[in-house]
Amino acid sequence: MTDWTFRAVDVTKSYDDGKTFANDRITLHVEPGEVYGLLGPNGAGKTTLVKQVIGLLKPSSGTMNLGPHDLVDDPDAARQLCSYLPQAQMPINSFKTHEAIAITGMIRGGTAAAVAARRDALIEALDIGEWRDTLGAKLSGGVKRLVGFAMVTVWPGRVVILDEPTNDVDPLRRRLLWEQVRRLGDEGVAVFLVTHNVLEAEKSVDRLAIIDRGRILAEGTPSSLKQVDRGRLRLHVMLAPHTPTPELPPFVEDHTRVRSNLIAVISEAEAVHGIGWAQELMGIGIAEEYALAATTLEDVYVRLTGDVAAREPASS
């Protein structure tokens, strides 16, 4: 039996004769049925990476394979095997919802009857039936996004690439969309999920890579990435605007400063001291409020990608 795992090895995409790197030796694999998240700030190189998967861009070096197919050498195969929901809206202004989904499904190779059946199921599952006959030009951004999702998943192929699929979508339908993403995985499709919404991703992905400046900074399951922070708490101190980072007590193990947010990592045993310190800062007007919580994937993300330029140098 063919192994349909997607494998990228040392994928590098450089511009300006190798002076700037959008992707820098990225190696990863996504198994059939796996929902794989690519997390990273704007400009991290996530979209550049997935555009190379679908054959819209060619890597400067490195390989990408899906089963027996070399996706770099054979972009025609890449387009048949992978479907792609770009970050931008779909060009469906003059399509009715049901037409846009059905035509795309048939372009992707489905027969009219099979595509129609799956389209109707998706329209119901995403709860967009009331716009079934509405022209794309008259749809709200969120509904248009859901129609786009249905277009690329109605006849999905082996890999589905979703670039920020929930943008503009209302909270209730977001849940419906995530259910469908999960279902794609259950059916054996490998899903590439590009996002900077860490909390949503934490609930939906099987594994993820945190990527910044073209490189993978960390990779694993959400819980394995949080492993490092087990037994630790995050003390989130909202500093008064334009205040320099205060001197940190010795029990603060790590900290990140993004604008007025000071996030200090402390061990559970130091919780009481941590609260005392935060209250002290509020007392002298340096801090406005604080919160103590369990670490989340977002902490891992912020720790890894927090803009160095925006951080204050650690007081010593």
């Binding site: 819209l56 861009l57 025609d76 060009p91 003059s94 795309t104 048939m106 799956r118 999905p156 082996r158």
Partner: protein
């Protein structure tokens, strides 16, 4: 409900034909809001150009009227291929919808073929209208022969592929629009399309020998007149070379994936 997992890659003539039919449907539905107005504008500009030049000059010699009327339909066809196509691709680039459209799993040639068919649907009514109006307004000897079919097809193909090559090669949408505007300006003003090449300065006439527009006019005019066109074989050859070049450039750019 089971999700379709592709059993094998599609190949062969059946795949090509299915993709072509679906892409043509995609283009035509995609232009649903634009198609009626575009065809209407083509009808008006074709007839308007024929009548407008007549108003400007009052009395037009019948040979000039013949050149004008047969030239107008070349302009209609070339405008659709060289201007409308690139502008739509420029819009795809500006609105960031280019990536989705070009990630669809169809042979690139089917997207081009579908666009050529769409161009024909947009252009043909205007061309017929221009000829009818010219026939009513001026005393011209139109002799329509079967040669109009290959002439019009080659002109349509070359204009569309030239437009494609420009639109895919140039990255900036604004620049695409600028180039196509200049092209159409040169087409109407400085190429012997609406008038015989003897009316151009020698150097400009010589330059036009290397450009596709006068050859488009020649092969089209050959299918609509008798005893007017000279050097038809050379025009077919020149136009074919342009067609091949534009196809190769487009294929190269789409495969380069920079």
């Amino acid at each position: 409900m089971t999700v379709a997992v592709i059993p094998a890659l599609r190949t062969g003539p059946g795949y090509w034909w299915h993709s072509f039919v679906m892409m043509t449907r995609w283009e035509i539905v995609g232009l649903r809001l634009l198609l009626p107005i575009t065809v209407f504008v083509q009808l008006l500009t074709g007839a308007g150009f024929v009548l407008g030049v007549g108003l400007f000059f009052g009395q037009i010699p019948s040979r000039a009227a013949l050149f004008l009327s047969t030239g107008v339909i070349v302009i209609t066809l070339a405008t659709v291929g060289l201007v409308l196509g690139p502008q739509l691709i420029a819009a795809q680039k500006a609105e960031n919808t280019y990536d989705f459209i070009w990630s669809l799993p169809v042979p690139r040639s089917t997207a081009a073929a579908a666009w050529i068919v769409t161009n024909a649907i947009i252009a043909v009514p205007g061309m017929v209208m221009a000829l009818l109006v010219a026939n009513l307004r001026y005393d011209i000897d139109l002799v329509v022969s079967a040669a109009i079919v290959p002439g019009a097809l080659l002109t349509l193909y070359t204009a569309t592929m030239l437009g494609y090559a420009i639109a895919h090669t140039v990255k900036q949408p604004m620049l695409i629009n600028l180039i196509t505007q200049v092209t159409i300006f040169a087409l109407t003003g400085f190429s012997p399309v609406n008038f015989p090449k003897e009316q151009l300065p020698d150097w400009l006439a010589a330059l036009n020998e290397f450009l596709p527009l006068s050859h488009m006019a020649n092969v089209m005019r050959a299918g609509l007149t008798e005893g007017v066109v000279a050097g038809l074989a050379r025009s077919y050859l020149a136009l074919s070379l342009w067609a091949v070049a534009a196809t190769l450039v487009t294929a190269f750019v789409l495969r380069r994936r920079a």
